[in-house]
Every structure is written in structure tokens, then in C-alpha cells.
């Protein structure tokens, strides 16, 4: 799930959000991984500037690698393909589009004052 808001006042105390990196650190159409409270969160910036966060663990191989997959689209759905065996996951729902019985968790992500923040809540 994406909350895109550039003008959240930085002073506002909100619980649950962790700053992970500068927006500019994320390359368009490429992922990166953040370690948040011991959880590995895969962050993606899509072509149109959208941000998504899902679990980094590839449920098919067990390896923590989804952030290193190729970002793309299937229909209108932004996706990432696992770099292990190429199963494709929706960045929006975390559901594996090749095997809908399998999914990865999704996390909230937003930009506040140029900084990317993630919430596990």
C-alpha cells in the first residue's frame, strides 16, 4: 500500500513509521532492501514514481532476495519477478500472480520531506 505525500509536516509525531533512506536513493524500476525492526522489507520505486513495500523473502526459495528482482507490469499491476525462479508478485497486494495461493506481506510506505518511511503496522 502506498501513501505518497511530500508535505507531511516533519514534526508530526506518528508512531510506527521508520525512516529508511532518501527518496533519491531509490532507483526508478529497481528495488532496495531495508532492515526494519529485524524485518527485511523490499522497497520499490516504479516508473511513475510510486513507492511499494513488500516482504523481501521469496516464499518459493526461502531466500531474502525479492528486492533484487526485475520490476515491471502485468496488465496495469506493478510487479516484481523473483530473481530465483521468476515467479511474479504484485507490488500492490503481495499476491503471487503465477500462483495466487502464495503471497508475501505488504507494508505501508510513504515519503516525508524527501525521506522514505516504512511502517510495519
Amino acid at each position: 500500500m502506498t501513501v505518497l505525500s511530500e508535505n507531511l509536516s516533519a514534526g508530526l509525531e506518528e508512531t510506527g513509521w521508520t525512516r529508511v533512506c532518501a527518496y533519491a536513493d531509490l532507483m526508478p524500476e529497481r528495488g532496495a532492501c531495508a532492515l526494519v525492526d529485524g524485518h527485511q522489507v523490499a522497497l520499490f520505486r516504479t516508473f511513475d514514481g510510486g513507492l511499494y513495500a513488500i516482504g523481501n523473502r521469496d516464499p518459493f526459495s526461502g531466500a531474502y532476495v525479492l528486492s533484487r528482482g526485475i520490476v515491471g507490469t502485468r496488465g496495469n499491476e506493478p510487479t516484481v519477478a523473483s530473481p530465483m525462479h521468476k515467479e511474479v508478485f504484485s507490488l500492490v497486494t503481495g499476491v503471487c500472480l503465477d500462483d495466487p495461493a502464495v503471497s508475501v506481506p505488504t507494508y505501508r510506505i510513504r515519503v516525508a520531506a524527501g525521506t522514505v518511511e516504512v511502517s510495519l503496522a
Binding site: 521508520t18 525512516r19 529508511v20 533512506c21 536513493d25 531509490l26 532507483m27 526508478p28 524500476e29 529497481r30 532496495a32 532492501c33 531495508a34 532492515l35 526494519v36 529485524g38 527485511q40 522497497l43 516504479t46 516508473f47 516482504g55 523473502r57 516464499p59 518459493f60 526459495s61 526461502g62 531466500a63 531474502y64 532476495v65 533484487r68 528482482g69 526485475i70 520490476v71 515491471g72 507490469t73 502485468r74 496488465g75 496495469n76 506493478p78 510487479t79 519477478a81 530473481p83 530465483m84 521468476k86 511474479v88 499476491v95 495466487p100 495461493a101 502464495v102 503471497s103 508475501v104 506481506p105
Partner: protein, 815 residues
């Protein structure tokens, strides 16, 4: 409402129930199965020892049926129409189906009941065998048939020194004749298994603890082993039928008519427990057919079972074995190659025109191409067909059976393709069931698709309606340099894991700078992105280039030091170089810094690009050599290094006709002659090995390089995504490619050469470029918010004095 009771829940019962449910049976279905789990794919049983779980093998249980496990039926009261189970439960029926399968036959040899003796039939059996193999060093399989060899393979996989003891004169006596058995034996012995044919068992002996310690043959020889598996055939489980007075065969099997009805019209029997027309069937294909016939009858239909095809094709211990049709005939034709261990025999009628059957060991190509001709006139002379591997343009009659597991004919498949508009093999599978059991008919399904004129769509993926070759031309002719431009002008959406790396490769082949520059970075597979190969635990391997396999002692020492300092696992590969495994993303630049400083460069093991040019020692040292194979290999590897292509490219150079470098197994291989070099193209190892074809002979080094330049560029331009040169060459035709490259029939050779010159001139080491650029370096972290932190999920454990990954336990996240 009809009360249908099924006894036994094996593959046959599963197929019966599935068919009934699919066809809308409106009665109540109760299944009583003796095993502690629902029906599973017994054909794939052995995969349980090589990584599959019981859940993977288990068939789905349809909704709405009642399934009792651990429920062994012990009696049938036919008057009352009730079956009773061992624990006293009574289940009334209107229609009863016996699908009790068979049980392994254990010959009455002394010691057969000792601890350490097993059969090979159920998941529980395999659990017990696995457990017993833990402390054991050797195992024996009694029985050298199809299942015996499969069990032997399993024991070998469990790390046991394995012996096969077969009463008959040769292995697999039911599928192959003596000649084939001898060839098969050669294969099996080469794998290190002990084969004892013509050998009975005197007794199985126990050690001091009362467990199996070995087997004594009638000649007194003892084979030591702690595990013994009986695989001496199966017997139909007809005890229930027998005790309730149903007709059974003299040598076992519940007697049924063509409608699968037993001597009691309210009781059907199907599967391996059945005797039909004097035959008991031990293969799943006929059992499935019986299930469908019984289902049809239960639903009021007129289905009938006819004598079934017992053809088999399998791959045992890596050796293909197949048998089809009859195992004798008026005439036979044998093809035998003792070097490669291939034995093929066809049985034909006395005029040599009608095919009666065949046997293959080592290479089962004739099974696929010729089996459908059994009982028909052959499309050529038998010897010609064996030598050429089958008729080139096969036109099968419509009633020829294509899938023997599921009894599907060519006609059924073709009409499904036409009527339902099927476009790929997956659709044929779900629509006709062909190809869903053993899979050996899948190549035929593909051919039928193509023959049916199905335009096998050339579109790369949902984002581009073009083939790779077409995209290549678009990019080349229009001078496109970015993916964004290409997809916005010629595609749709934002790409995927198929088109992005393909376009990245095209852009790289046409020389568009560093593959991690600007937008190109986002197109790369993780391997290209991190300039390293991802391994199963998310770490990467490091592979420095060692051109021609030639390396100085100093450089060897550097590799050793780097591996030691970073705790990397080292392995010498088949490509004459050294791989270092287990590097975390953030270690890659540190490792490469050391390597680049010592004069190494990227080996492109991660890319669809030139891998290595192997070489033999050649004329410099070898007393047989006629040319400097190492020198040429080094020159070629340096010339084509970094060349991005539709698939990986491999090469080798041998210094004389003895071919120690195995150049004919390569995409382009060179073998020295007294006069110069012979060039071979289109070879590969891998899943479908192919020997390279001679392309040009006695070339000077300059001529050779010019021809390879053209050949590679023409391949890069015109091949499909992930198409090796072997398949590409077969599609284009060797003669056509020769005309284009050697005679310049298209007038493009100058352009191809110029393109290669640009590649050679523009080459720069990708790793050095990364190390020189802080921006690119910043990507090599495990976590953006904790750049120094290693990925905590990665761990290693020791093995043979090195490290290996601790594998991460797998439990898929279910939605």
C-alpha cells in the same frame, strides 16, 4: 441416492473419483483406504527421497466425498451389501469398487523378515528405508526390473554402495532383450553399481544385533549390506475378492469383464488388482483407463476396456530405456554403438514393412518417433529410420496413440487444438490430459501444435508483439538507445522479467556503454545487476576470467588468498576456471578490488555472454599437437569477452584431432589440423546435447576469426531469446547459415564484421568500471538503511573443509 463405496485409495481410485465428480455423479461417495494418507502419485514415489514432500505428491481430494484413512477393509457381505473394516466399522453400499492395487512380492528366502529388509511401494516404506540408510554403508536390491533399478537409484542417492541382484540373465528382462540388457548393464556399472545377473538368493544373513548384514548367493559369495530392498515383482491384492467368493484368476487378479465388472454385478474392480482378458497391468496408464471405463459404466455409459499398450519409456539412473509393441518379430534390425552405449532394435514383419515393436537403451528417440507406427506400414526402411532417428516429416494417422499414459490419440489432440483453439502445451495438458503423467510425449505434443498450424506466437511477452530478432532490427535500424524509448514507441506497459533483460542484451550487443549506466541498470537481471551469479541462499559467486584456462602461479595464489580472506567456497569448474562462492552483496566490491588490482577482470559468468574458451595443452607441450591451441583460445576469449548474446556462448580449441578440449560440444569449437583450423558450430552440452557441425576446414587464423565474427553477429541478430546456437542453427539450416556467412548471400558480412570490430574496440572491464564509480558502488549493500549490516538470513556450515550454505527452511506463505 446411490451409495458408492470405493475400497483402496491409490492412483486408480483417485482417477475414478475425479472422473465421477467431474461428470456430475450425484450419488454419495465413500472411500476406505488403508494407508494413513490420501492417494498420492506412486509413479513419482522416488522423488520423495530427492526433495518432494508427501504433500507435493498427494492428489487433490474432491469436495463432498467421504474419505476414511487407516481403514482396511477386511470383509464384504455381498448379500447385505456391506463392507467391514479391520476396526469393526460397517459401510453399506449399492455399488462397490475394489481398487486395492497390488503388493510387492517377497520371495520366500531365509532371512527375508530380518530387520533391514524392505519393500518399495509406499511413502511409509521410503521413510523406513531412509531411516535405515542413515548408519548404513551398502544396500542390495533384489530384482533388476524397472522398479528394482529405480529402487537402486534411490539407495545410491541415499549414499549407499548399491548392488542389484537379478535372477534372470540380464537387467529389465521384461522390457529389453539380452543385447539391450548387456548395454544397460554397462551403463549401470559405469555408475558404480554392482550388477549380479543370473543370480538367485540363498539367504539373507544377520549380524550380531540380529539386523541384516549381507546376502549369500547360491554360489556362496556374500555381498555385505545393511539394507535389502525386495523388488521382485508385484502381486494383485485380491484377498478381499477371494474371501468373499468373487472370481479370481489362477495366478491372481480379480476377474473383470470389459466393463470392469466382477462376477458380482454390483461390484467393480479396477487398477493393478484386476485380471482382464488374462492380463494384469502394472503400469498406471491402463489403470487410469480402467477407472474411466468404470466411471462411465457407473454413470450408465457403455465404456469398454480393451487390451492396453504396455509400452514403457523411462530414464533410470540417467539412462533412457524404452520398449514398445511386441518384443519379437519375423525380422529385426539392430543399431548398436558400444562407445556411447546406445542399443536400438526394431521388430518388423517378414516383408520388413510393418513395424511390430522396438527396444531402446541409451537413446530412446525411436520410441517417440516410431511408436505410433506400431502395427502400421513404416515410412521408410527400418535401418534408415534407426540411423536417422525417425522420419523427418512424420505424418501420423489420426488414431495413432500419442500419450500412452492417458491413452490419447493424435486425432483427439488435433481436434482439441482446432476446436478449442489451444495454443500451447499447457492447454493441451489441461484439456486432453495428454502429457500429464510421465511427460515423455510432450515433445510430440509440441510438434502437433506446430503441425496444426498454430501460430506459436512470436511475441516476446505481453509488452512487445515482436520476436527478439525483430526487436533487434528495430533497435539497430532506428538507432534506439533506451528501453523507455523502445517500449513507448513499440510496446505497451512497463516491461517484465522477460523483455527487460532481452532488450538490455540487445542494447549491450549493439554497444551502448556500461550495462549499469542510467536506465539500463533497471533492465538487468539480478546477476547482471550485481555482476555476479545469484546462488540458492541469496549470496553470489565471483568468477574471474582465466582466458583459455591459462593462469600464472602468482594469480592462482591471489585467488587462493582472496577466497581464504573472505571465507569463500572454491571450485574448479568445467570451463577451466575457478568459481568463488558465498559472497554477500556488500562483499562483492571488496573482493573484486583485490582481484582487479591483481590483474583479473570479470569473467561474465553472470551474463548471457561469452563464457570461456577452453583449450587443451596444444602443440607447445603436447607431443601430438599440431597447432598452438592455448594461444588461439586466449586470443579468442579476449576478442569476444563481454559480448552479450541471446544465450550464453561457449567455445573450445583442441590442438589436434584427438580433441581433448571437447570443442565439438561448444557453440563454436576449433580443432587444429596440419594446415590450420577446422571450425565447428552449433554444439552444446546441457539438457539436449548436440555435437557441433563442421562449418569450414583448414582455415588460417585470420580467416577463422573473420568467420567467427560473422557467425556470432548473425546469431546475435537473428536468434530468439534464450535460444542456444544449436537450436538456432537447426531452425535456420546449416546450409543457409553457410551461404550467409561463407558466401555472403545476404550481402551483410561487411556490416557484421564492422559490428564485431565495434564490440572489440569498445570493450571495457565491467568490474573495473564499477570500482571506479562511487555511484555504482553504492548499490552493493544488503540494506539501504544499514549499509554495513550483513544479511542475517545468510549462514554457512562446514563441509569437506570449506563452507556451504545453511538452507533456509521452506514454508510457503498461503494467502
Amino acid at each position: 441416492m446411490t451409495r458408492l463405496v470405493v475400497v483402496g485409495h491409490g492412483p486408480t481410485a483417485y482417477r475414478l473419483i475425479e472422473t465421477l465428480v467431474d461428470r456430475g455423479f450425484d450419488g454419495r461417495i465413500t472411500v476406505l483406504g488403508e494407508e494413513p494418507r490420501p492417494a498420492y502419485d506412486r509413479v513419482a514415489l522416488t522423488s520423495y527421497l530427492t526433495g518432494k514432500t508427501a504433500e507435493d505428491l498427494t492428489y487433490p481430494v474432491p469436495d463432498g466425498i467421504t474419505l476414511s484413512l487407516n481403514a482396511r477393509v477386511t470383509g464384504i457381505d455381498r448379500e447385505a451389501g456391506v463392507v467391514t473394516t479391520a476396526d469393526g466399522h460397517a459401510e453399506p453400499y449399492d455399488v462397490l469398487v475394489l481398487a486395492t492395487g497390488s503388493s510387492p512380492f517377497v520371495p520366500p528366502v531365509p532371512g527375508k523378515d530380518l530387520d533391514g529388509c524392505f519393500v518399495y511401494r509406499t511413502i511409509d516404506d521410503l521413510d523406513a528405508i531412509r531411516e535405515a540408510s542413515r548408519g548404513a554403508t551398502a544396500g542390495i536390491v533384489i530384482g533388476g526390473g524397472l522398479l528394482g533399478l529405480e529402487a537402486a537409484d534411490a539407495l545410491r542417492g541415499l549414499g549407499l554402495e548399491t548392488h542389484v541382484v537379478e535372477m534372470g540373465g540380464w537387467l529389465m528382462p521384461r522390457q529389453v532383450d539380452e543385447g539391450g540388457g548387456a548395454v544397460l548393464r554397462g551403463h549401470i556399472e559405469a555408475l558404480g553399481l554392482g550388477v549380479h545377473t543370473g543370480a538367485g538368493v540363498k539367504e539373507i544373513v544377520a549380524g550380531p544385533e540380529g539386523r541384516v548384514s549381507g546376502l549369500v548367493k547360491p554360489d556362496g559369495e556374500t555381498i555385505e549390506a545393511q539394507v535389502v530392498v525386495f523388488s521382485a515383482g508385484v502381486r494383485p491384492r485380491d484377498e478381499l475378492a477371494r474371501s468373499s467368493g468373487l472370481a479370481v484368476g489362477e495366478r491372481g487378479g480379480i476377474v473383470v469383464d470389459d466393463g470392469m465388472r466382477t462376477s458380482d454385478p454390483a461390484i467393480y474392480a479396477i487398477g493393478e488388482c484386476v485380471l482382464h482378458d488374462g492380463m494384469v497391468y502394472g503400469l498406471v496408464g491402463p489403470c487410469f483407463t480402467m477407472a474411466e471405463v468404470a466411471a462411465d459404466r457407473i454413470l450408465g455409459g457403455e465404456g469398454a476396456f480393451a487390451r492396453a499398450d504396455m509400452s514403457t519409456k523411462l530414464k533410470l539412473l540417467g539412462v533412457e530405456v524404452a520398449q514398445f509393441g511386441a518384443m519379437d518379430g519375423a525380422l529385426d534390425v539392430t543399431f548398436m554403438d558400444p562407445v556411447t552405449g546406445v542399443y536400438q532394435k526394431l521388430f518388423v514383419s517378414d516383408d520388413a514393412r510393418t513395424l511390430l515393436g522396438g527396444i531402446c537403451v541409451g537413446d530412446a528417440t525411436p520410441y517417440n518417433s516410431l511408436k505410433p507406427f506400431v502395427g502400421r506400414e513404416l515410412p521408410g526402411s527400418p535401418s534408415e529410420l534407426l540411423f536417422t532417428g525417425g522420419p523427418a516429416n512424420m505424418d501420423l494417422p489420426d488414431d495413432a496413440q500419442v500419450c500412452s499414459c492417458n491413452n490419447v490419440t493424435k486425432g483427439q489432440i488435433c481436434s482439441a487444438i482446432a476446436d478449442k483453439g489451444l495454443t500451447d502445451v499447457a492447454e493441451i495438458k489441461s484439456c486432453t490430459r495428454a502429457g500429464t503423467a510421465c511427460g515423455s510425449c510432450v515433445p510430440m505434443l509440441k510438434q502437433l501444435l506446430i503441425k496444426s498450424g498454430v501460430e506459436v506466437s512470436k511475441a516476446l511477452c505481453e509488452h512487445f508483439a515482436y520476436s527478439r530478432a525483430e526487436l533487434f532490427d528495430i533497435v539497430r535500424v532506428r538507432g534506439i538507445t533506451t528501453f523507455s524509448q523502445l517500449i513507448s514507441e513499440h510496446g505497451a506497459g512497463r516491461g517484465c522479467d522477460v523483455c527487460k533483460p532481452t532488450v538490455a542484451s540487445i542494447l549491450a550487443s549493439l554497444g551502448n556503454g556500461h550495462i549499469l549506466d542510467g536506465e539500463q541498470a533497471a533492465l538487468q537481471d539480478t546477476n547482471d545487476h550485481f555482476l555476479a551469479n545469484i546462488q540458492r541462499n541469496g549470496t553470489y559467486s565471483v568468477v574471474p576470467r582465466i582466458p583459455g584456462g591459462e593462469i600464472t602461479p602468482d594469480k592462482l595464489i591471489v585467488i587462493g588468498e582472496v577466497a581464504r580472506d573472505f571465507g569463500l567456497y572454491t571450485k574448479i569448474t568445467g570451463g577451466q576456471r575457478i568459481d568463488l562462492f558465498g559472497a554477500r552483496v556488500e562483499q562483492l566490491p571488496l573482493i573484486w578490488k583485490r582481484l582487479v588490482d591483481a590483474g583479473f577482470e570479470s569473467g561474465h559468468a553472470y551474463g548471457k555472454a561469452l563464457r570461456t574458451v577452453k583449450s587443451c595443452v596444444g602443440s607447445t607441450w603436447c607431443r601430438y599437437g599440431v597447432q598452438d591451441s592455448v594461444g588461439l583460445a586466449v586470443a579468442l576469449e579476449l576478442r569476444y569477452r563481454g559480448l552479450r548474446s541471446p544465450h550464453k556462448l561457449k567455445s573450445a580449441v583442441s590442438g589436434c584431432a584427438r580433441e581433448c578440449a571437447e570443442a565439438r560440444g561448444k557453440d563454436f569449437g576449433i580443432i587444429a589440423t596440419e594446415q590450420g583450423w577446422n571450425l565447428y558450430v552449433g554444439g552444446n552440452g546441457g539438457f539436449t546435447p548436440r555435437h557441433a557441425d563442421l562449418f569450414a576446414s583448414d582455415l588460417s587464423t585470420d580467416e577463422l576469426i573473420r568467420i567467427i565474427d560473422r557467425f556470432l553477429m548473425f546469431y546475435i541478430r537473428t536468434a530468439d531469446r534464450l535460444q542456444r546456437t544449436s537450436v538456432w542453427l537447426e531452425n535456420q539450416g546449416l546450409d543457409y547459415v553457410k551461404e550467409v556467412i561463407l558466401e555472403d548471400s545476404l550481402g551483410i558480412c561487411a556490416e557484421l564484421e564492422a559490428q564485431m570490430e565495434r564490440h572489440v574496440a569498445g570493450y571495457a572491464d565491467e568490474w573495473r568500471a564499477v570500482l571506479d564509480d562511487p555511484d555504482r558502488l553504492r548499490r552493493f549493500v544488503s540494506f539501504v538503511n544499514a549499509p554495513g549490516t550483513p544479511d542475517p538470513s545468510i549462514a554457512f556450515e562446514p563441509e569437506r573443509e570449506q563452507v556451504k550454505p545453511v538452507l533456509i527452511p521452506l514454508e510457503p506463505v498461503r494467502a
